[in-house]
């Protein structure tokens, strides 16, 4: 039964994969093309050379942007893990009065699109003097209802005997948190970490608003800049930029795919 289905499934899989992956593959190929290749709409570069990659670093301060993106993404990732883990711990393990009310408060944040709040946020950031600062791109994203729910869900799977054993040994609540709960739930922390890094690395609108000079700009804004500067002249250079920008996230995705898939369905549905 399964075997015979393969004959239908493989061709379909191959065709869909080709179609879906084509833009990425093509961007990769173009990044090695000369201007003439591009003009001729060639499919493969006539000569493979790295000159586009050298030039992209000369055109825009891409190194700087990469570093900014890396700092911002790592910052959000760590901040999110800490803030969400704390909140999730309270929800999962501390029976306090008003827990349902606070939980509802968290749920309500899911209903506010960031874009609807961005105008006052922009004004707030200006008032804080956080324009062109890493702070403006990291701190507002530390608290995350989705991340809190994801972790809470996993925290609740910690056998209560483990917590009680720690209680009998005399561990404080906080020590139980970081010595028992966090190590037990490593996998969901990794999932949330990957998710946080990915989404931050790919953030576009907000960095566009809060950065006005090259100093703190992220790669995504760099891509837009590159495209506006280079569009008439050389697509090869632009695509080299694109490839450099997507490599970290694609790698992360490929490594963490299984985890991410599990985590997303759990956090979303339960």
């Amino acid at each position: 039964m399964m075997k015979s289905r393969g004959w239908v499934v493989y061709p379909l899989l191959i065709i869909s994969s080709l179609l879906l992956f084509f833009p990425i593959v093509y961007a990769f190929l173009v990044s090695f093309m000369s201007g003439t290749d591009v003009m001729n709409r060639s499919f493969l570069p006539s000569i493979w050379n790295w000159s586009n990659y050298e030039r992209v670093f000369e055109t825009v301060p891409l190194m700087r942007y990469l570093m900014n993106s890396f700092i911002v993404s790592t910052g959000v990732m760590l901040g999110q893990l800490v803030v969400c883990a704390f909140a999730a711990y309270a929800f999962a393990f501390i029976p306090f009065k008003g827990r349902n009310a606070v939980f509802l408060l968290f749920i309500s944040t899911l209903m506010i699109p960031w874009e609807a709040a961005m105008i006052p946020n922009f004004l707030t950031i200006q008032a804080f003097g956080w324009m062109n600062s890493y702070l403006s791109m990291t701190v507002p994203f530390f608290a995350l209802a989705f991340g809190t729910f994801l972790l809470r869900q996993h925290f609740k799977t910690v056998p209560h005997e483990l917590m009680e054993a720690a209680d009998i040994e005399g561990l404080s609540k906080f020590a139980t948190f970081y010595k028992v709960v966090l190590p037990y739930c490593r996998t969901s922390l990794v999932t949330l970490g990957i998710y946080g890094f990915l989404t931050t690395w790919n953030m576009y609108l907000w960095p566009l608003l809060v950065t006005t000079n090259d100093e703190k700009r992220t790669v995504q804004i760099g891509l837009k800049q590159l495209q506006t500067v280079e569009v008439a002249t050389d697509w090869g250079v632009v695509m080299a930029g694109v490839i450099i920008v997507i490599i970290p996230t694609l790698l992360l995705l490929f490594i963490g795919q299984k985890q991410l898939q599990k985590g997303l369905t759990q956090g979303a549905l339960k």
Binding site: M1, M2, R5, V9, S16, S17, L20, F21, P23, Y26, M39, R41, V83, C84, F86, A90, I94, F96, G98, L105, T109, L110, M111, I112, P113, E115, A116, A117, M118, I119, P120, F122, L123, T124, V139, P140, F142, A143, L198, W201, N202, Y204, L205, L209, V219, L223, K224, Q227, W235, M239, V242, V245, I246, L250, Q257, L260, Q261, L264, A268, L269
Partner: protein, 315 residues
Amino acid sequence: MSSSSVTVVEERILQYGRKEKLSWWGKTKNFRTAMLYLFPSILLFSIFLFYPMLRTVYLSFFLTDAQGVASLFVGFENFAYILQSSVFRKSMVSTLLFVLYTVPSSVIIALFLALLANEKLRGIGFFRTILSSTMGMSVAASAVIWLFLFHPTVGILNSFLNIIGISSIPWLLDPQWALISIAITTVWMNTGFAFLVILGGLQNIDQHLYENAEIDGAKYRYQLRRITLPMLSPTLFFIITITFINSFQSFGQVDILTQGGPAEATNLIVYAIYRDAFINYQFGTASAQALILFILVFGLTILQFKFGEKRVHYQ
């Protein structure tokens, strides 16, 4: 908890209990500890979500200066203004059309791919990786790649069309095609995430159900209709809502591909807000539009909770 008459338990406590009187401080211990853990989240939500949301409501009733300071209370005039403005109405129409183009196609394509990738075949891991790859793609990178593919002179899409005998399409130049082009880009970007979520949902379905159906001799199509789709309904409902909300929030692809043009055809709501607020410094009308966006997303999320909640039990 307490009943009017004295229960056996209360009686026993009176007899043998030396109930320690807990001070107010002692009674609220759990609450205080919990708040300590919740404080960072609540603080951040307050500053960057609840406060700005209220401020948005507030601003939408005012005319503002270029610094965003409310200068003149105008009541519902901002709303009246945007509702009458042809630009806003066009933006709403484009947004709704865009949602209509992207949501069903994203979900159907992702479902199709997930069903394929759920088969237990050799090398399926590789295909799953490829099919989920667009989840790692940023809006900017995707938009730049598609900008190139759509390009009137060097774009390869038109070359393909020419090869199979179709004349070139004015992808980003024609108002109608421009919206479709942006929709294509968006669907492509959506696929990875939706695929991953649906695949997760498929893998959560108990394999015994299928084995049982196989024994009963049920055909693939029957299994799909009677087992897969019903069991998958919570996941599908979830991903439909998420795709809806994401579509309403599309910005980057517009900014890079069309800047809202040609002829305002792709001026989607978030882009319209962005333009009003950060290019024209009309914070009042921008806030009014932001409020409308909020209401749309809010309604959709409520819907997800109402229906989603009921169906999740199924699993």
